[in-house]
């Protein structure tokens, strides 16, 4: 552990145009060629990226008051309800939310053609959205109803606040039953007919900083095509999950909560998404720059697909019933080869998260940093890590105390 670098030194280099930035994919080849020590001295920042469906996403809005004023008790945007249990003209639109009269899974598998994620994409794309609200009338907020049309420009604030994004590693989903199943991991064919995975592997943000040494509260990130921040650890953050010798979790582990101005974002990086038989969600683009503070950080960012393993889980019985059983584990290199072996059978794989878009995000971030447009945010507090003692709880069914 020879030298060290600080955030302010790196930011100084960004401002003077001397910073050296490479992507988490490019750094792998560099390390193979020149070794950890040399590359750590040469490179200041490694950029990462991921573009996948992230269900715990949504946006806060302040719509402004009409005349006369209203306390919005119910709000619908293009027919999709938003949560209004906050101040009068504030609401939160969750990306999984569905229109009131969606047929859901009544004709299984339901198509779920439109929902909260699509409203967010439409707004970011500059489209006009139908807005309806009802109130029950108070002395200060007498109005009971309003129906109008809004664009992203019309509202006072709109910020994405995603309570759980960028899962550090994830399950590989298969179906051992004898009928097709439709899950949040896609359509899974019977008899382990296919295997779906959902991580950018070696490009994925939290897999490049496995112990959250640099990704913490206040880290500045690429979020949905704009600039965002890590606000907190994500929900279900499970830093004490099993890890390999390289520190990388061998299954789902850490998560982050992120926040950013929706008005800066781009529809290309926030896509309303429909999962047949499951529901709607939002596909979110996230990129995180990892400062090479020392050799250890460089070593972390040089992680390769063959060094990252993920558990294979049956989504027909074991996952729904939370049995905790896995059918073995595979590496991302195997997953990306297109075929893995499960119970001695060759199974074709498909990703759900887009690797080429993850690469594009890491590249975009790299170019914004080298162009001096994006400075590092030094975390004001670290996320709970492997030494936190956190353990994930299930929900217990209890009698009234």
């Amino acid at each position: 552990m020879g030298f060290k670098r600080t955030y302010s030194e790196i930011n100084e280099k960004i401002k003077t145009g001397k910073v050296v930035v490479v992507t988490a994919e490019e750094v792998i080849g560099m390390v193979e060629e020149k070794g950890i020590e040399n590359v750590a001295r040469e490179v200041d920042i490694v950029t990462t990226g991921t573009f996948g469906p992230m269900c715990s996403s949504g946006a806060f809005f302040n719509f402004g008051h009409p005349k006369p004023r209203i306390k919005m008790h119910k709000v619908w945007m293009n027919g999709v309800p938003a949560y209004t249990g906050i101040a009068a003209v504030d609401a939160y639109l969750g990306c999984n939310e569905l229109p009131e009269h969606d047929p859901l899974n009544s004709n299984h598998p339901g198509e779920f053609r439109y929902g909260g994620g699509h409203v967010i994409e439409d707004l970011v794309a500059g489209k006009t959205v139908k807005f309806e609200a009802s109130g029950y009338g108070t002395d200060c907020y007498p109005r009971r109803k309003i129906e109008t049309y809004i664009t992203l420009e019309d509202v006072n604030e709109a910020f994405l606040f995603n309570p759980r994004n960028a899962y550090q590693n994830y399950n590989v989903a298969v179906n051992v039953s004898d009928k097709m199943i439709y899950t949040y991991m896609g359509a899974l064919k019977p008899g382990v007919g296919n295997a779906h995975y959902c991580s950018a592997g070696q490009l994925s943000p939290l897999l490049n900083d496995p112990l959250y040494r640099t990704i913490g509260i206040g880290t500045r990130i690429f979020l949905g095509g704009g600039t965002g921040y890590v606000a907190w650890n994500g929900t279900q953050h499970n830093p004490c999950a099993a890890r390999g010798e390289n520190g990388v979790p061998t299954g789902g582990a850490g998560t982050i909560a992120v926040v950013g101005d929706l008005k800066q974002m781009k529809p290309q990086w926030l896509r309303g998404t429909s999962f047949l038989g499951y529901g709607v969600t939002l596909t979110v683009g996230i990129g995180i720059p990892i400062p090479i503070l020392d050799e250890e950080m460089l070593k972390f960012t040089a992680v390769k697909d063959e060094d990252i393993v993920a558990p294979v889980v049956d989504y027909s019985y074991d996952y729904p019933n939370a049995t905790g059983k896995t059918l073995g584990s595979v590496t991302y290199a195997q997953l990306k080869s297109g075929v893995i072996e499960v119970n001695g059978k060759a199974v074709p794989t498909a990703p759900i998260s887009s690797y080429i878009k993850a690469r594009e995000i890491a590249d975009t971030l790299k170019h914004s940093i080298t162009a001096g447009e994006f400075l590092l945010g030094e975390p004001v507090q670290n996320l709970p890590s492997a030494d936190s003692g956190i353990s994930l709880k299930g929900l217990q069914e209890k009698k009234a105390p």
């Binding site: 198509e111 359509a187 309303g272 690797y355 080429i356």
Partner: protein, 139 residues
């Protein structure tokens, strides 16, 4: 009547029954097979032009349906909207003909029109509706 284009989907159990023979023999229909992917162990697909006397035509189709064949009118074509496609890859493990596949190591999703049997499965699977179909010239 003028020939209509239809898609037949056969569950694996009935792939080996002589259904087409019956269409010709019992219902006097004329058949022009445009594309076929029939394999004894798997679900099979057949795209054909079918014509005959209207009454017999309908009877022929209901015969097929009774045998468990899914009969759909043909989308003239399946296209992938490259602007919308995120290359997530989800369609690739579901596409029965290999028309949608991942080019490795770039991980780009490719659509090879010539392999497509127009089964339409990807239309519902694609999470961002990047797959588009036109039925008889309409979208």
């Amino acid at each position: 009547m003028s020939p209509k284009k239809i898609v037949l989907r056969f569950p694996s159990q009935i792939v080996d029954k002589p259904l087409i023979y019956h269409l010709v023999k019992d219902y006097e229909l004329m058949i022009n097979v445009l594309k076929a992917n029939v394999n004894p162990d798997k679900e099979g697909f057949m795209v054909m032009e079918l014509s005959g006397e209207p009454g017999k035509y309908e009877q022929g189709l209901s015969f097929l349906r009774k045998q468990g064949v899914v009969v759909e009118s043909l989308s003239e074509g399946i296209t992938r909207n490259v602007e919308k496609c995120t290359h997530c890859g989800m369609c690739t493990s579901i596409c029965p003909s290999g028309a949608l596949y991942i080019s490795r190591p770039s991980m780009e999703v490719i659509f090879d029109d010539s392999k497509c049997v127009i089964c339409g499965v990807c239309l519902k699977i694609c999470p961002v509706k990047a797959i588009e179909a036109s039925v008889n010239g309409r979208q």
